[in-house]
Every structure is written in C-alpha cells, then in structure tokens.
C-alpha cells in the first residue's frame, strides 16, 4: 500500500518538475508560502486561543483569499488553458489579480483591528 503511495508521489513530483513551466512554478511557490502562513496562523489559534478573534479572522481570511486569487491567476496564465480564456490575456489576469488583492487588503485592514 505505502509502496504505491510513495511511487505515485515520486512520479507526480517528477512530472511536475519537468513539465511545468517556470512561471507557473513561481506562482506555485507563492501559493505554498500562502498556505503555510495560513496553516501556522490556524495552529496558533488552536494552541493558544482565539484571543483577538478579529485579528485571527482577518489574517486567516487574507491567507485564504490570497490563495484563491493566486490559484485563479495560475489557471488563467497557464498556456494549456488558453482555449478557455480566449478573451483574457495573462496581462489582464495579472491586472485582475492586483485589483482583487486591493479589495481584499482593504477588507482585511479594516478587520484587523
């Protein structure tokens, strides 16, 4: 059982490193960073308590929101998906990404307290 899991994972990693373009890997690294930050915040909340609950929420929502927007950007700039996003150029995707982030930051800053 574990054997097959390990082999699946190693196969996946191999395919990933070879087939994914660099640009997407950059975005993936960013997504990983966001993920870790959010997970660590959640861990703090579990261990120590929810004392400034609004701050925890805003931080966590920032991470979640950023992750989602990052995923959207990744989908939109992936050349393999070009067929589905004919009207959206990578530049347009990036501009959308920036605008959505502005709104997200506004909300997060409002709530952080």
């Amino acid at each position: 059982m574990s054997n097959s899991v390990i082999s699946v994972i190693s196969r996946f990693l191999e395919e990933y490193t070879t087939t994914t373009p660099n640009k997407l890997k950059v975005v993936d690294a960013y997504l990983l960073y966001i993920l870790l930050t959010g997970a660590l915040q959640f861990l703090y909340c579990l261990l120590v308590g929810t004392f400034p609950f609004n701050s925890f929420l805003s931080g966590f929502i920032a991470c979640v929101g950023s992750f989602i927007l990052g995923v959207c950007l990744r989908i939109q700039i992936n050349p393999q998906n070009k067929g589905e996003f004919l009207s959206v150029s990578p530049e347009r995707a990036f501009a959308d990404f920036l605008f959505a982030h502005t709104v997200l930051h506004l909300v997060v800053m409002n709530f952080i307290g």
Partner: protein
C-alpha cells in the same frame, strides 16, 4: 310589529332619561357671592368700570354706598358726544337713586343717529339702552329693522346676544318674532360637555350674557324661552363653575346671569344641599336641608317633601311622602322617629310650591349612625381532645379579665361575643372586627379576623399549634385587643380584653427578633467592569510571530532556486509609476491600519489607484506587445 317595538323603546328611553334629570353641580355659595361682591366693589377709575360695579352690585342685591359720590363721578366723567360714555353713565345712574344725567338735544341726536344698519351691534345696543334709561323716545320698529339687518351681517354669539338685550328695552308692541327665534338658534350653538356643562366656545362671559339676555327678553314679551330643564341646569353648571373671575366684565356677566336665573318668570333652578354632613343619629335626629336658588338665597315659598326613602342595603322603603318643616330658614325632618336601622339610605326629595322651579327632584344619600356595644364576651381555653371541660370567663366591657389565660400546643384559646346596637338592641355586623395579639416584650403583633356565625354570634379561635408561624413560635405573654369599627358606628372600640400566655412547642424562635427590615439601605452593588481577556505570555506570541513570518523566507529561497529574477525590468516611466503607485497603495494600507478611517482611505485609494491603474495598464499593454512580438 318591530315598528311598535322601536317606538316603545324610544318612549322608554325618554322616560328613563327624564328620570335621571341633571341637578346643579355648581352654584354660587354665600362665600362665592361675597367674593363676587368684593370684586365688583373695587374702586372704579373710569365710566366702564363704574358701570360694571354699580349695575353688577345692584343685580346681586348688594348695597351701594355713597350714591351722591357715584353720581358726581358719573357726571364728571361723562363725554356727551360718545355713545359708549352715555350708555355707561345712563345705565349706572338708573341703578342708584336720585341721579339724573343731563340730556341735551345734541345728545339725543347722537344717540338716535347711532341706531342704524351701519353702526355695529354694540353701538346700537348702547344707544338704545341709553335712550331708554334716559327716558328719551325711540322708534321701536326702526330699531328692530336695524337689529335684524345687523344680525345678518354680524353672525357671532356676542352680537346676537346684544340684539336680544336691545330688544328687551323696546316697547312691547314691536315685532319681535324674528329676534325671538334667535334664542333657539343660539341654544343650538351651545357645546355640550359630558352632559354636565353647556357653554359657548367663546367662553364664560358669552354664555352668561346669553342667559341674561334670553331671560330678559322672554320676560319682556312673556313667552317662555325654548330652553329645556336639563339645558338650564347645564348652563347653571357652566356659568357658576368658575369661582374667581378675571375681569370686571366677566364678574358682571356672572352677576347678571345669577340675577336672571334667580328671578325670571319661567325657570328658577333649585339648589338642595344638606347642612353639614348628611348624617343622623340618636344624638342628632334631624336631617337639615338648605333649599336655595343659584345665589344661595333661600326660597321663600317652597315646600320640601321626601317622596321616598329606602335603605340601600335592603331596598325596603322607610319613608314615603314625608314633609320637611321650615325652621329658621332651614328645612328639617326628624328621621330617627321612623326608627331606621343603621346604614345608608337613599332619599328622593321634591321641592314644590312654585311652578318655575327647575331641578326640583333631588337624590340624597343619608347615613344613619349608631353606637355599638359588646355583650356576652366569653373567653375560654379548650383542650384539643375535649377531655377537660372548658372554663368560660365572662368579661364585661371596658374592664379587663383579672387572670391571664394560658394556652400551649395542646389547647385552643376561644373567644365569643355579640355586637348589638345600643339603642335598638339589634345585632350588628360591622365591617371591622379584629382580634389583635400584641407581645409586650418583643413588640410583635398579630391580627386575626373574628367572624360571625349564622346566629350573629362572633367567634374567634386560636389554635396554638396551627398558628405558630404567625407568631414566629415566640412564647410569652400577649395582650389581646378587640377592635370594632364601621362607617356607621359613632363609637369604634379598642378594648384590651385579657392577657394570653402562649406556649409554643419548638423553641426554634430566632434568638433576637429581627424586625422586618424592608426599608434599610441595601448592600451597595459594585460595578464589575468587563475584564479584559487573558492574553498569552509575550514569549509565546513572539515565537509564533516569527514562525508565521518564516514561510516568507522559504518563498524567497524557492524563488531564488527557481531562478525568478527581475532582469526583465523595463525602466519605462509607466512601469516605474506603476510600481511606485503600487507601493504607495500598500503603504496606504498600513496608514489605514494605524491612522485613517475607511472614508479617508477610500479617498486616497481612488487617487493613488487611479494613477496606478493607468500606469499599470500602459505597462502591461507594453508587455503584451512585447510578448506577441517575441512569439
């Protein structure tokens, strides 16, 4: 069929409403009349106030002093060219004897000229009254014509009232028909307040002057005014409810109305009231009534009669058609001679002797009070199991039992007595029959009610074991009091009958008696402010802050490994502007967190965002071009 029923119902309701006729709620008592006279007797400074004072006092039947001085004053203040001045002087001079106002031809002409359609109603009234008081001739028909024309033009209450007053000064041969109808029209304009008051919305003066004018004209033409009895009484209530008057004119109007209602030919309202409280007893067996007119003047020729008197409790009729006797201005009836039982009685009194009398059926509630005596007071201590015979001690009022009674938990203390009317020997059942036990040492008192059985014998039983909670189980000597009281008793009783020693089983009485402290200050409430939540120690927070920031390092490392770089950075103005703008936006976020509010932030954001957007648009477009070029 149902038409008949409806008609019957209508007649019935009429009959019922007639049965509950209104009686005067207000009138001028002797002190009110004195106050009114005082107000009218004040020193007058001009002709108008002289008129109100002199004529008003005359109407109240008061004595006016210094006729000569008043006459001098009138003559000196008179302005023979003014209709008003002539009116005040002429009317006032008529009220005092031996005062003649000099009249010249010019005076007469001025007055006659004022009687026309073009003068105001007040002018016509004053001119006609002056002409009449000074004994000058006037053409009544012309006056009637002028009045009728004026009524059409000035349709208000005061003007029509003045028209009525003026018509009363004309000769009896004149055609009064149209003017007489105005009385009925004005009556329709009165406002009914709760069925008790009837008045004009213009106020007291208008109502009082209307009454005066209506009766003065009706007397003059000898035709009864179209006012119903209830309306007359409601007018009386409105006019005499105010006991202090704001102006001489108002006082004058009230005095005129009082005079009009006391001696006109048609309606004289009667005021019947008891002298002192309406109570009779053996010491005071006569019921005394004052029967007067609205000015508290006794009615000379009245016969007062009790139509019926019945007991409120039992509805049995005690008296029927019993006359009152007039004794020194007061009507008396010896009610105790009919030997009524104590209690309340409803009297219906009728005043006859003059068919002008209005509201001459009055309902009166009379109380008959008596004295009570306590008889056959027997006290005993009874064993609960009835094995030991009871020893009854008789106590006579007002002495106290010689020995005290002891009752412990196996015994009951019992008391029985009777309450009788001293004068008639009839058994009474007063409202309050209480037995009070008072502990001398601790100051406690417990009150019980003694109730009569069906033979009117009052009984009270104290079960020591059952009642120990009322006494807080405190044993000791208690003084026993009997309290008897009622509204119809003249001698309420508070009698210390005996001392009772009560022994309770459990000595679980509190060591010290705490008086029921209801009204002492309560303990102060300290406000607890919301405590801030427990914060984790700073070490933990700092450690986690570092931990949360660590993935950023990881990100930089990964990017470095991937070979992400900024080598493709084009130093075009739009891209520089874009990056600067973007950095500014992030800086704005920080400033928002620390200093600003949402509105300010949005304001700055639109400015910076607008610039950034334009620059970014340009920059990305350039990038896109570059990308497609490369492809």
């Amino acid at each position: 069929m149902d038409r008949c029923g409806l008609f019957g119902l209508f007649i019935l309701s009429l009959a019922l409403s007639g049965a509950q006729a209104v009686t005067p709620a207000h009138h001028l008592s002797l002190s009110d009349v004195a106050r009114l006279q005082n107000l009218l007797s004040q020193q007058f400074t001009d002709l108008e106030s002289a008129y109100y004072s002199v004529v008003g006092l005359k109407k109240l039947g008061a004595v006016i002093y210094d006729h000569k001085e008043v006459c001098q004053f009138l003559k000196s203040q008179l302005d023979p060219t003014s209709v008003d001045s002539l009116f005040f002087a002429a009317e006032a001079s008529q009220a005092i004897s031996g005062c003649e106002i000099p009249v010249s031809n010019e005076t007469r002409d001025i007055l006659l000229a004022a009687v026309s359609e073009d003068s105001t109603m007040t002018q016509i009234h004053r001119a006609v009254s002056a002409l009449s008081s000074l004994g000058l001739p006037l053409a009544s028909q012309e006056v009637v014509g002028a009045l009728t024309a004026r009524i059409n033009k000035e349709d208000n209450v005061m003007a029509i009232t003045l028209a009525l007053q003026t018509a009363a000064r004309l000769s009896q041969q004149a055609e009064f028909g149209g003017i007489l109808e105005e009385i009925e029209d004005l009556t329709a304009r009165l406002d009914d307040l709760g069925g008790i008051y009837l008045q004009f919305e213009e106020g007291l003066e208008a109502t009082a002057m209307f009454v005066t004018a209506a009766y003065s004209l009706s007397d003059h033409v000898d035709i009864e005014p179209p006012l119903k009895e209830d309306q007359v009484i409601q007018l009386v209530n409105s006019i005499f409810s105010k006991k202090s008057w704001d102006s001489l004119a108002e006082a004058f109007s009230v005095a005129s109305a009082a005079a009009a209602l006391s001696n006109n030919h048609f309606h004289v309202p009667v005021v019947v009231s008891a002298q002192g409280p309406a109570t009779v007893s053996h010491s005071q067996p006569t019921l005394q009534l004052l029967v007067t007119d609205v000015m508290s003047q006794p009615l000379a020729s009245a016969n007062v009669l009790v139509e019926s008197a019945y007991a409120v409790a039992s509805k049995s009729i005690i008296l029927s058609q019993a006359p009152f006797t007039l004794n020194d201005g007061v009507f008396e009836l010896n009610f105790m001679s009919s030997q009524p039982a104590s209690g309340y009685y409803q009297f219906t009194v009728a005043v006859t002797g003059d068919n002008r009398l209005v509201a001459n059926h009055v309902e009166l509630k009379v109380k008959v009070s008596t004295e009570v005596a306590v008889t056959n007071m027997d006290l005993s201590v009874v064993d609960k199991d009835q094995s030991i015979g009871t020893k009854t001690t008789r106590v006579d009022y007002p002495s106290k039992a010689k020995s005290s009674f002891t009752a412990d938990s196996h015994q009951n203390f019992a008391m029985s007595f009777q309450l009788v009317d001293v004068n008639t020997g009839v058994e009474l059942s007063p409202h309050q029959t209480f037995v009070r036990l008072h502990n001398q040492k601790t100051g406690q008192e417990v009150v019980f009610v003694a109730e009569p059985d069906n033979k009117n014998l009052y009984k009270f039983e104290l079960d020591t074991a059952e009642r120990k909670s009322e006494f807080d189980s405190i044993s000791g000597t208690y003084s026993l009091y009997l309290i008897v009281g009622d509204a119809t008793l003249e001698n309420p009783i508070l009698w210390n009958v005996a001392d009772v020693v009560l022994k309770f089983v459990d000595e679980d009485a509190p060591a010290t008696i705490q008086a029921k402290t209801l009204y002492v200050p309560k303990p102060e409430i300290q406000h607890l402010f919301r405590e801030p939540e427990k914060k984790p120690p700073t070490v933990v927070s700092n450690a986690f802050t570092a931990l949360v920031l660590s993935p950023f390092l990881l990100l930089l490392i990964l990017w470095f490994k991937l070979g992400a770089n900024i080598s493709n950075f084009s130093f075009s103005p739009s891209s520089i502007l874009f990056h600067v703008g973007h950095a500014a936006m992030l800086g704005l976020m920080y400033v928002y967190w620390t200093h600003l509010n949402m509105f300010q932030t949005l304001k700055y954001l639109t400015i910076i965002g607008g610039v950034t957007f334009l620059a970014g648009n340009r920059m990305l477009a350039q990038k896109a071009v570059k990308r497609t070029e490369k492809k």
